[in-house]
Amino acid sequence: MEQFIQQILNGLTLGSIYGLVALGLTLVYGILHVPNFAHGALYMVGAYVCYFAMVELGLNYWVAMAAAAAVVALLSVLCERLVFHPLRHAPPIHDKIAAIGILLFLEAVVQMHWGADFRRIPTPYTEILRLGELTLPAQRLLIIGGAFALMGALHLYLKKTMTGLTIIAMAQNREGAFLVGIDANRVAMMTFAIAGALAAIAASLFAPINLVYPAMGHLVLLKAFVIIILGGMGSIPGAIIGGLIIGFAEALGGFYISSTYKDVIAFVLLVVILSIKPTGLFTKGVR
């Protein structure tokens, strides 16, 4: 039983990180209508900025995380302005190619500066709480708490504020949004900024229990894609719940089935769910 709860906790940790990354991806999808392949690279850059600020500049963990969020938000907005905005009238394939270009570019820049070595970010929270047989590392609790707090804040922002509503309006009906006077550029920049910040915070939260290296975004991005396909493209609750499903499946599957195949489980699950419900789990009936 303890083992099971332990794995549930691990699943929650993974799931909340995946959820944050997938949320950004799904928000941007709502605006661009193409998957942003560069999102995994933004995640990776977030981890490196956090590493740089904390290890090389010696800043506090939280300051480093805030710096990562700010830098990556800016980088994400720059991608929108310099790459996606000029391509807005081009066929979708151009966006996809450009996104892959950004991904390769960012990885090359990071590798040029830091090399391909694996690096570690030390966590300032090394305590381990024990509850009976359960071990609860403080960093994992921080990840879960931080991620869910952020999701809650994002939910309130999107549902309760006028500027948040404009993001959803734009995703639900682009022309309708223009006709009420919503400025497309503003919404696009805001969405990219939020997506970038979410990816950077996810990376900064997760990096202390993982490794930092230029290709670290690949698997996370692939899983984020699985999640938003599972949850329904553009669906916000879908991204959160999809993240948790993949997180749990990986943790439980890795423990009970085979840890070697834990990364395969997400994709098996994708195949199974899509063959039962091809539109994803949370696509809205009303369109």
Partner: protein
């Protein structure tokens, strides 16, 4: 209030609007008659800034707004209630309406006042205000669309085929509301295929065919015009 001089619009090489010159004076209700594909929606989208004109000049109260962004037009008081409604289907009716007042978002008190007026005009929307707009019937969705446009406090309201696909009784209600909105001081440009119902409440009308304005006149002239009767009224 609204003035177009020699406006052309193109889809690639296809000329969808050809030398449109027209005007709408303050307080008027002007009808734009035309068959499917005649260019009504293109004309509306060009005025709204969704499409950039290839030639010509558009002015609002004497100010040149040619090629301005849709958000600038809404801020200038030109609000379109589009064909097909273009609501935010997953959002509640209330949020759809509030977003209609997006350009006035800093004026909360004013927005709440307008919201009350809109809900008073369409009491059914008050009942359904928490339901997703996409779940409403066609007629109710049309009311949300008109209400959303009114939330922008338009000086000129452009209605693109508000009667499309609605039951005759609902069409009658919609036209009553349009007449009421005009009587309360909002200038209206109404695109319609339902010529008789539209002309009955209009001051003037234009006829658009293949992207050109082919006829214009006041209500009596249009209702009495043989060609208009044949083509659009069917009597």
């Amino acid at each position: 209030m609204l003035k177009l001089e020699g406006v052309d619009a193109k889809y690639d090489s296809f000329k969808a609007l050809d030398g449109i010159s027209m005007s709408v004076e303050p307080g008027e209700l002007v009808v734009l008659l035309g068959a499917n594909g005649a260019g009504k929606t293109t004309l509306f989208n060009t005025i709204s800034g969704l499409m950039k004109p290839a030639a010509g000049r558009i002015t609002i109260d004497g100010k040149d707004v040619t090629g301005r962004k849709p958000s600038a037009l809404v801020a200038a008081g030109v609000v379109q209630c589009p064909e097909g409604r273009k609501l935010f289907p997953g959002m509640s009716v209330l949020k759809n309406l509030r977003l209609g007042g997006y350009v006035h978002r800093r004026d909360r008190a004013g927005m709440n006042r307008t919201l009350e007026q809109v809900l008073a005009m369409f009491p059914i929307l008050d009942e359904k205000k928490d339901e997703p707009a996409g779940s409403l019937s066609g007629g109710q969705q049309q009311m949300v669309a008109v209400g959303r446009a009114l939330m922008g406090r338009p000086k000129l309201l452009m209605l693109d085929e508000p009667s499309l696909g609605l039951a005759p009784l609902v069409v009658k209600q919609v036209f009553e509301r349009v007449e009421q909105i005009n009587a309360e001081g909002t200038t209206i440009l109404l695109a319609e295929q339902n010529a008789y119902a539209a002309l009955k409440i209009a001051n003037r009308a234009y006829v658009i065919e293949n992207g050109r304005l082919t006829m214009q006149g006041d209500r009596e002239e249009m209702l009495g015009n043989e060609a208009v009767r044949k083509a659009y009224i069917g009597a």
